[in-house]
Symmetry: C2
Subunit: 358 residues, 2 copies
Amino acid sequence: MQISVPIQKKKSMNHSVTLRDIAKALNLSISTISKALNDSHEIGIETKQKILAYAKEHHYSPNRMAKGLKEGKSRSIGVVVCSLDNNVIAQMLDGIHQVSTEHAYQIIIMQSKESEKLETACIELLYAGGVDGILISPAYETKNFSYLISLQAAGLPVVLFDRLIDQIDTHKVGADNFKGAYDATMHLISNGYRNIAHLNTNTIFSIATDRLNGYKHALAESGISYRPELLRSCNYTDAHKLNEDLEQAIGYYMGLPDKPDAIFTATDQISTRCLVLLNKLGYRVPVDVALIGFTNTELADAMNPALSTVHQPAFEIGQLAAEKLISLIEGKFNAEDYETVMLPTQIKVRSSTLPRNT
Amino acid sequence: MQISVPIQKKKSMNHSVTLRDIAKALNLSISTISKALNDSHEIGIETKQKILAYAKEHHYSPNRMAKGLKEGKSRSIGVVVCSLDNNVIAQMLDGIHQVSTEHAYQIIIMQSKESEKLETACIELLYAGGVDGILISPAYETKNFSYLISLQAAGLPVVLFDRLIDQIDTHKVGADNFKGAYDATMHLISNGYRNIAHLNTNTIFSIATDRLNGYKHALAESGISYRPELLRSCNYTDAHKLNEDLEQAIGYYMGLPDKPDAIFTATDQISTRCLVLLNKLGYRVPVDVALIGFTNTELADAMNPALSTVHQPAFEIGQLAAEKLISLIEGKFNAEDYETVMLPTQIKVRSSTLPRNT
DNA sequence: CTGTTAGCGCTTTCAC
DNA sequence: GTGAAAGCGCTAACAG
């Protein structure tokens, strides 16, 4: 005859075995178990071993939420980016994930889709979710950072990466955009190009202004006067609008009496879309117009023509940003030591900027 | 004279205002506040309004961990993928994130880096972290799914996406790889190609076998006999090894007495790397050899030549997988209704498969 | 060395 | 209509 054991209806919680279960099974108190599992010195070696063995055997794993509630921290960090579906961002997330995992932090990723409103919602959710800190690359649209600043003032560690802004005082990690733009422009100049256009985004971020300034600086240093009509800014918040703006910009450039012989593009999307459009419109690159731009795509080699690029150390930016945030969370920094790190970019020369045949 | 208020030392918790704070401030009990904020009918309309107003003003947001602890669920889902730095995966994550956010779930993303060991570690962490369910696209290396199966048996909802396996009985969402491969091969055949090679991965996943079968089926249906020597499998776990294998494979193909006039490639990485290599080795696509492959890159148009592709509905796969998981979590499904959904792929014809000039 | 107890913030009976 | 109290799983101060 079978003895029917009353099936204890489990809570929907995914965890089965708790400290209490172990305590009951081993006829010990909950705190003894807790201490043993935390390797406290006040527990006898024998008891400890017995407990550890039982815990291992029954796949005990502490409930993160209970622990978090108790300790006032969740060992999770929130990451806010414009979009997951983005080459460069994905590489940064890769770096963030690697470092976070090494330090036993989970990452909770949110997308702002370039919208200030969504971004605020993301931050609210993360904060409400109890993250220990936030890594953020702000949306292009965002002008008002007061919410984030107020959270920071309330003690939430925040680190900016990729797109840096002045309004927030904290650690910031990005690429050396000035130098990257300078190098790209200098490369064009040394290859014989003189009428160099610059396609950028319509934002106030340093990521945009630094690149513009690098471009201007290279021109100035080479004795080429800056022609404002060769600078165009695209709407970046919406892929469709961006494409439209780009097509317009190219049409505008090519209709200019003194039209550009080269274009330096400021972002991943702009660079690649621009090449697509130039091809589509029948312009021969680099004969009709040369092209170099910021982008991290591995496919630059397979493009038509192979695209010269400014490569950002995206993975490393992610790693460093995560390290900075974690050190902030763990209190290894006084707020006074906030620093802004600009990692070097790298020019990769390919066929789209072959020396100009004059 | 200033009255010095003793500053209550806050816990390191990022949350400031709690139910208790509101209760104290409004001279009500904690449970009243809780009920009011949950819009319970047992609370008077006036009291409710007063409480809501106060809560809003002070940016009250419930502590996710406390709530989770109490309710036995975390409103978070774990996502395990091979890598964040991957076009197709990023698009799937985008879809997963969108749906999860709509349903007020957070996503915690983990990378297996194609390693079985790391993958198990990811799953363990997620489980210990108390996720309500897991979405997983298994690592190429993984052979043993017993851990995942045991968690599932213990009540953890699991949904497979992208890379589907038979060992686990649950909802599965992927692309219609058989049809995609069939279409791609038929396209080559109808454009006059007869010696069609197939470059695939060395795995047992249906994602690989389905594509192979689609290819074979198209050949058979067209009265072309399948030549095993035109099938090559690459090691996929390591980008460097993959590239090596690809270079070898191409050399092998081109050294064949009856060499292929077209290649059908089975994955994103293989397709794009293959084009890069063909260009590098001086083969003219499609004159020397045509190329079509699975990949979602938006840059196909800008490639040299524009690459014909089989496009997967990656975003939609992510969306659907997340929906399935959430419905599982929320108990809207009996385990008997598990289904496997294969979303249609789409052939995008470009110059790399121009009709063969015989 | 081990156990008791209080409490993290929240929900949920059950009294009043 | 409102409040008191228990308890989710865990840690830590304090007793024994």
